[in-house]
C-alpha cells in the first residue's frame, strides 16, 4: 500500500497570495505604469507577454530536468511533474504567441515576422505539443519513458533552432541590450511584479496539476486492483 501518496494541491494560503499579487500586477500594469510615448497603451501587453514567455521557457526547462531525473530514477513522481509542467508551458507559450502578434500588428504593422525569437517560440510550441501527443499516443510503461526521452531531445534542440534562425534573419525589438534596460523605472518595477505574478501562477498551477494527476493515477491503480480482486 502506497500510503505515502496523499495528493494535496496548493494550500489556500498560496491561493490568496497569488490573488493579491495578481491584483497588484494588474493595478500596476494598467494604472501605475506610465503610458509608453511611441507605442501608447498597446505597450501594456508587454507585461503579460514577458511574464508568460519567461515562465514558458522555465516550464520547459523543468520538463528537461524532470525527464533526466525520471530516466535516472524511474520514479513516477518526476514524470508527473514533467507532464504538468509541459502542459502549463504550452499554455503560456500560446499566450506569448497570441499577445505577440496583437502588439506587432499595432506597432510594426505586421502580425508576424519570421525573426529568431518569434520563430523559436513557435517551434517551441510545436515541440512541446509533440511532447504531449507522444504522451497520449504511447501506452503503459512506454509513456513516461518515451516522453522523457523526447523531453531531453526537444530541449537540446531549442538553442540550435534559435541560432540557425538567428543566422537566417533578425528584427525583434531589443528592450534589454548591453547598455542596460531601456525603460522607465516604473515600467521595470511593473515588469518585475508581472513576472513574479506569472511565476507564482506557474507554481500554483503546477502543484494543482500534479495533485490531480497523482490522484488520477492512484484512482486507476485502485480500480485495477479491485477489478483483479473481483476476478474481472
Amino acid at each position: 500500500m502506497t500510503g505515502s501518496i496523499r495528493p494535496v494541491g496548493p494550500s489556500r494560503f498560496w491561493g490568496w497570495v497569488l490573488f493579491v499579487v495578481m491584483v497588484a500586477a494588474l493595478y500596476m500594469i494598467f494604472i501605475y505604469a506610465p503610458t509608453e510615448r511611441q507605442m501608447g497603451d498597446i505597450q501594456r501587453l508587454f507585461y503579460f507577454h514577458v511574464g508568460a514567455a519567461w515562465n514558458a521557457f522555465f516550464a520547459f526547462f523543468v520538463v528537461f530536468i524532470m525527464s533526466l531525473l525520471y530516466l535516472k530514477t524511474r520514479s513516477t513522481r518526476w514524470d508527473v511533474i514533467a507532464l504538468s509542467s509541459a502542459e502549463i508551458g504550452v499554455i503560456f507559450t500560446t499566450i506569448v504567441l497570441v499577445t505577440g502578434p496583437i502588439w506587432g500588428k499595432a506597432y510594426w504593422g505586421h502580425w508576424w515576422t519570421w525573426d529568431p525569437r518569434l520563430t523559436t517560440t513557435l517551434i517551441l510550441w510545436f515541440i512541446y505539443v509533440a511532447y504531449l501527443v507522444i504522451r497520449s499516443s504511447a501506452e503503459g510503461e512506454n509513456r513516461a519513458r518515451f516522453a522523457a526521452v523526447f523531453g531531453i531531445i526537444g530541449f537540446v534542440d531549442v538553442p540550435i533552432v534559435f541560432l540557425s534562425i538567428h543566422w537566417w534573419r533578425t528584427i525583434h525589438p531589443k528592450v534589454i541590450d548591453a547598455t542596460g534596460i531601456n525603460m522607465e523605472p516604473e515600467m521595470v518595477i511593473t515588469l518585475l511584479v508581472s513576472v513574479a505574478a506569472f511565476t507564482l501562477l506557474y507554481f500554483y498551477l503546477l502543484s494543482q496539476r500534479v495533485a490531480i494527476e497523482t490522484t488520477g493515477r492512484e484512482v486507476s491503480r485502485l480500480r485495477d486492483r479491485l477489478r483483479t480482486r473481483a476476478g474481472l
Binding site: V133, S137, R145, A148, V149, F150, S164
Partner: protein, 226 residues
C-alpha cells in the same frame, strides 16, 4: 567482432531485406517525384520563380519522401517480431541505432541521387557551383535528418499512432537542418560554392549532426527496453 563490423551487419541486413521487396525505395522515389509535380502545379514556376524556390522544393521533396522511409524502418521490424530478434542479437543497442542510421541514409541518398536530375530537368533549372560542395551538403543534410529521424522512428513505432506520430514529432526537431541545408544548397546553386555563407551552414550542419548523433546514442537504449 569490432563495433563497426556489427554496425555494418545491421545495415547490410536492412539493405538486403530492402532489395528483396524494394517497396520502401520505390514508394520514396515515386513520392519525391509526386511532390515535384504537385509543386509545379501549386507554383506554376516561371524561370525567375524557379530560381528562387528550387532549393527549397527539392528538399521538401526529399524530407517528405524520407519520412516515408523512416516510418518503414522500424515498422518493418514489428512484423514477425523481428525487433525482438534484433534486440536478442549479441550487439550493443547503439550498434542497432548506427546500423539503421547508415542504412536509412543510404536509401535516402539513392533517392536524392535519382530524383535530383529529374527535378533539374523538369524545372529546367541551370545548376552552377561545385559538385563536391553540393555532395558534402547533401551528405551532411541527409545524415542529420536521418540521425534524428531514425531515433524518433524507433520511438514512434511503439505507440498507437506510429505512422502519423513520426512527422509530428520529427519536423519541429529538424528545423535547423531544413534551414541550413536549403540555404547552403541555394548558395551553391547561385555559384557561391565555398563562400562564407555556405561555410556557415556547413558548420551548422556539422554541429547538428554531431549533437544529434551523440544524444540519441546516449538515449537509444531507453527506447528499446522490454
Amino acid at each position: 567482432m569490432p563495433f563497426l563490423k556489427k554496425v555494418w551487419y545491421i545495415t547490410w541486413k536492412d539493405i538486403r531485406s530492402e532489395f528483396r521487396t524494394k517497396e520502401t525505395m520505390t514508394s520514396m522515389l515515386i513520392f519525391a517525384l509526386l511532390v515535384l509535380v504537385i509543386f509545379s502545379f501549386a507554383f506554376n514556376p516561371t524561370p525567375t520563380e524557379t530560381k528562387r524556390i528550387f532549393p527549397g522544393i527539392i528538399w521538401v521533396g526529399f524530407f517528405f519522401a524520407g519520412v516515408l522511409g523512416l516510418n518503414r524502418s522500424f515498422a518493418r521490424e514489428r512484423e514477425n517480431d523481428c525487433l525482438a530478434g534484433l534486440m536478442l542479437a549479441p550487439v550493443d543497442r547503439s550498434a542497432i541505432y548506427f546500423g539503421k542510421v547508415l542504412g536509412n541514409s543510404l536509401f535516402m541518398l539513392v533517392v536524392e541521387l535519382v530524383t535530383l536530375p529529374v527535378f533539374i530537368v523538369f524545372f529546367d533549372y541551370s545548376v552552377r557551383g561545385s559538385l563536391v560542395a553540393l555532395g558534402l551538403i547533401f551528405l551532411l543534410g541527409t545524415f542529420g535528418f536521418v540521425a534524428v529521424g531514425t531515433f524518433l522512428s524507433a520511438l514512434a513505432t511503439n505507440t498507437r499512432t506510429s505512422e502519423i506520430l513520426l512527422p509530428i514529432i520529427l519536423f519541429p526537431i529538424i528545423i535547423p537542418v531544413v534551414i541550413a541545408v536549403v540555404q547552403a544548397t541555394a548558395s551553391i546553386f547561385a555559384g557561391a560554392s565555398w563562400s562564407a555563407a555556405t561555410l556557415l551552414w556547413v558548420k551548422v550542419l556539422v554541429a547538428y549532426d554531431v549533437i544529434f548523433l551523440v544524444v540519441p546514442f546516449l538515449l537509444f537504449e531507453y527506447l528499446l527496453e522490454v
